[in-house]
Assembly symmetry: C2
Homo-oligomer: 151 residues x 2
Amino acid sequence: MAIQDFSQSLPMMLYRALDEIMPKFRCIFNEFALTEQQWRILRVLWEHDKITLGRLSDLTLIPSPSLVGIVDRLIKAKLIRRERSDADRRMIFVVATEEGRNLEAKVMPRVNEIYKEIKEPFSMQQWGQLIDGLDQISHFNKKTVTNEHKE
Amino acid sequence: MAIQDFSQSLPMMLYRALDEIMPKFRCIFNEFALTEQQWRILRVLWEHDKITLGRLSDLTLIPSPSLVGIVDRLIKAKLIRRERSDADRRMIFVVATEEGRNLEAKVMPRVNEIYKEIKEPFSMQQWGQLIDGLDQISHFNKKTVTNEHKE
DNA sequence: TATTAATTGTTAATATATTAACTAATACGA
DNA sequence: TCGTATTAGTTAATATATTAACAATTAATA
């Protein structure tokens, strides 16, 4: 019944894992004058030619109110542009400029290098278990229990 | 050689896991007029009667520049207080007030409830593997390879 | 078709993160 | 003991997160 160690709680372990690996990546982003969030947006645009702000928010995990300013700064840096939808005038598409697309070839190799370094000490099975566990956490609010109707 | 899916990268999986579980906790914190960071500080003070700002920063994973303001606001809420060290006048201890200590009995049960809910769908083995994996990530910068001298 | 509801983005206010520079106090070496 | 390096906290500037409220547009429905 005693208080368990706060440092070993799941949230703190997740935060600590991020604190440990992200500075390495941010170091690279900074070399290209990018913030982590700006990187995330570009990273998604390299996989999607054209994407609405809503979907961009989902894929980057950047909350929409934050997205507004981050997109503004990326536009000022001439790396992306806004494009209002004709079909539905509420929607706004975001598109990478040529300069934005060109960054991919420069940044991705550096990032993949670090990524490989992080992954290296893991066995393939260990890594799979880690990813599976994280994936299960990520679906916590959707289907806690599969074989049972909830509410 | 093609770009792997950004959404399945380790950093995004970690962020997504946090995005999924933290709102539930924050919901409780807000009931007690606490922010997540304020909670973290109190949570640590419930395990340590007296702690320096530096160590508090390490345990809460709150960067020291942020800590200043967060501690200020907790003091204004009469939940903690500062106490300068006599032995080393550079150091500042943080201590919970009685009001701050009293929060533990009210908040912890609610938090433990959610925590149990998150942990529930996992087998004990699965959970252990997840924690071990996160722990290994957290030691990335310390000892990437054990049986080898680096540098 | 006029109203209402839902969707998509945005603005605003406050709190926190990031990075660099800075102060005060202490430790250390010539 | 003086000068220097180190350590503990802080301040400053900018970027982002969180929450609530809001505007514009579209969808739904009586």
